[in-house]
Symmetry: C2
Subunit: 478 residues, 2 copies
């Protein structure tokens, strides 16, 4: 059986689902539909499967998200394959090429399935059946296979795949005629009616050998820089960091533009099992099983006499009450709230731009800040003090550091900390505290097998994150 | 010059302005319009005044609000007169009668002005002029004077005062013909057109002697229980607690029903200076100076393409973004958010009832909990731990107490605390900490001249407020 290497593209940072999706923690890492995150669901979709053999998933992401990736996979019991760190986002063509080159080095016969990490595909069995159909085309003809979504509405927000013939209902791949750019509404209606235009899902299946040949043929300029970035990649705590200098020379371009629209050996597997790229809150509304009045709720929400509304309270502790509203999106978080007309869902980006312009941290940052060692959250910032909750993963350690302007009180509330203060090292457990005087060189570690949680109370005239001198850092930060 | 004794009724706990107004901290204590609270503005309106002599305001409130009352008056530099504590709310008739009886004991000639604490009257000079007109009627004829608001719309939500003649424009009091119940819309239109029907504001001016005579004549059953409640009242930390047993015997009835609708010597001072009882978010919208698109904002709010909307973010730290909404009320707080159609503003009570039914604390409680000694706020509740910010007023002390199930770490972040732990008493200042072991008898005081703020980290299996044994309490709590 041919093994399929899943390649999950996980570097995106969309703003259309603000305030839930932010640059610091974008939508693929959030449980938008159901209880797992979109990324976790994407990875789960690419395991098991009747008659399919999936290798451990390769993930392409950026440095900020790398620990989120490994934590989220661990949480659903999936061992990751290689995790490639893109030094900066260069769109899908360099990412797919890097994945292909990395796979080619160990298995030139490999078949790879490229999938975004932020789509919803509710019917996994149907998806696996489609993959099996694609695999036939890959093996029989060396096709570059795309997956085309059977449209159920005249959507103007997507590109289309024009097939050389109508799908015959067998599910088999159909040769592609050509790509169609996002249409106007009349064109979209005509395409919906004729039955041979499918939405371009951005999911691909091909042999490594075939896609490398296509890159050589259609995007030869990408080969040298991406090959150099892969060859000079550095292993770092289990991640593979592509070489930044080489990577910077790769063109920022999508795989559609660079390769797919030029290649001849393309075929499309028609897919009608349900799919959404959740590109707006309106799409989330649609995927959230709204009730008979069109109301979809998530979290502690009370809705009275509402119609056609998406009502979400994200923290679990904030009550959202909606009274007599219609065609409304309301997303509540403790630090930010969006209320938007349903038909303006596409314009949420504008709101984020406006917030950024006024300097609001909420435009891009969540209150919880993820770090290699765990995460922290500011609970309150007062005059000359700040209180944080700090969560340290088992075995993780913060950098050895000191501060010029603040003292810190640490109270362990869960697990055990190993604390270094100047020359002294000691274990501090639940309900014990440590004082870190201003200027003392200190480090916090979790030597245990369970998460360690502590409350940090900072006092001082200046409490910014940049008042830090790092002496040693296992995560190689400055 | 006749001295006027303001009597401010401050025991209400309206739910129509949820989530900002809650039972634990209702709308009169909130800066809904402008920078002072409605209660502070009410008290300020009843000081000074050209040709008027106001005594220190008497306040009627309940036990839960008594320290909020004194703190808020102190914050605007007003020395309170007597603060009478109603053991339970019995509507306005018993409250006004208690105030009259209390005043009669020291000054039988007193004139009293009864005013709600939660109305907006933007033009204080116009209000004072109206009071001066009322005083003439009180002195010349012993009238019970009400203030009637000249209507500017056919409002169906208020009772009306039908005058015996149209106001002549002089501002002088006009004899009342009769009270009119809340009308239907046609009747309201007719009353608006005829010019001799004014809104009943619930503001009254009369001599103590005259109102007592009116109670004797029209509500004699109230006299004995209320007199007993005043005579048996107990002084407690400067407050006057009406006797609960006697008070329980007083009928729960409004002064309109009990006295005003039956009395003959009523006159009405017409008032056209602008007034609102802020009985709904729609009324707040109207009083909040909406822009040309009808959008009124408060706090960190970003509005894009909105029309006719009230957009409020109450905490100062929560970004509220509104995109393309119309006829919408959105009120954001970190623990609760309301989105409501503007024309459903009158039904916010329904939402609060629904929240109460599902047991949500947000129905009635704010995250900040006010106590006699200051206030506290839960910053985070975790598995076996809780973090609080505690603010103690200068000179105040918490009870001497112990806990069965939790230990506490206290870190002072502002001011100085005097801390008792079992037999040891010591001063703890900014950036110092104290540990309170489980079972230790302890007390926290603020011996200083500035507020003391500390962070309390509790750990233990049970962290409820009811795990407390009180040994001594200056505020006489159980």
């Amino acid at each position: 059986m041919t093994q399929i290497h899943p390649v999950i593209l996980c570097g995106g940072s969309g703003t259309r689902l603000w305030p839930l999706s932010r640059k610091s923690y974008p939508k693929q890492f959030v449980p938008l539909v159901g209880h797992t995150t979109l990324f976790q669901a994407s990875a789960q979709r690419l395991t098991g499967g009747e008659g399919l053999d999936f290798a451990a998933p390769m993930v392409l992401t950026n440095a900020d998200f790398r620990f989120i990736v490994t934590e989220q996979l661990a949480a659903v019991g999936i061992d990751p394959g290689p995790v490639l760190i893109e030094p900066e986002g260069r769109n899908t063509a360099p990412a797919v090429l890097a994945a292909a080159l990395h796979l080619a080095a160990t298995d030139p016969e490999a078949v790879m399935l490229v999938a975004p990490s932020d789509h919803v595909v509710p019917d996994t069995a149907a998806f696996h059946a489609a993959v099996a159909q694609g695999l036939k085309a890959v093996r029989a003809r060396g096709d570059l296979v795309t997956f085309g979504i059977m449209p159920d509405r005249p959507e103007t927000g997507y590109g289309y795949l024009r097939l050389s013939a109508r799908p015959d209902g067998s599910g088999a791949a159909v040769p592609l005629d050509r790509f169609v750019e996002k249409p106007d509404e009349d064109t979209a209606r005509a395409m919906l009616a004729d039955g041979s235009h499918l939405w371009n899902s951005g999911i691909f299946l091909f042999a490594v050998r075939d896609i490398l040949a296509a890159f050589e043929a259609h995007a030869p300029g990408l080969m040298a820089p991406v090959r150099a970035a892969v060859e000079a990649a550095k292993t770092d705590l289990g991640f593979l960091r592509l070489d930044p200098a080489a990577w910077a020379g790769a063109e920022d371009i999508s795989i559609d533009y660079a390769v797919m629209e030029k290649a001849e050996n393309l075929s499309v597997v028609p897919f009608s099992g349900g799919w959404s790229d959740l590109d707006s809150w309106a799409a989330v509304h649609e995927q959230s099983a709204p009730d008979a009045q069109g109301v979809a709720r998530s979290g502690p929400v009370t809705a009275i006499d509402c119609r056609n509304a998406l009502l979400r309270s994200e923290s679990g502790a904030q009550e959202l009450v909606a009274l007599g509203v219609e065609n409304l999106i309301a997303v509540a978080m403790p630090d930010a709230v969006l209320v938007a007309s349903m038909d303006r869902a596409q314009d949420v980006k504008q709101a984020v731009t406006a917030l950024k312009a006024k300097g609001a941290a909420q435009a891009e940052q969540l209150p919880v800040d993820h770090r290699p060692w765990g995460w922290f959250e500011s609970l309150v910032v007062g005059e000359r003090f700040q209180v944080k909750r700090i969560h340290v993963h088992p075995g993780a350690a913060l950098s050895l550091q000191s501060h010029h302007h603040r003292s810190e009180h640490w109270i362990v509330v869960s697990g055990t900390a190993k604390v270094t203060v100047d020359d002294e090292v000691r274990l501090v457990t639940e309900n014990q505290s440590v004082y870190i005087p201003l200027g003392a060189v200190h480090r916090m570690e979790n030597p245990g097998k369970v998460p360690m949680v502590l409350i940090e109370v900072q006092t001082g005239a200046y409490l910014g994150e940049d008042d830090i001198i790092r002496y040693e850092d296992v995560y190689a930060r400055g």
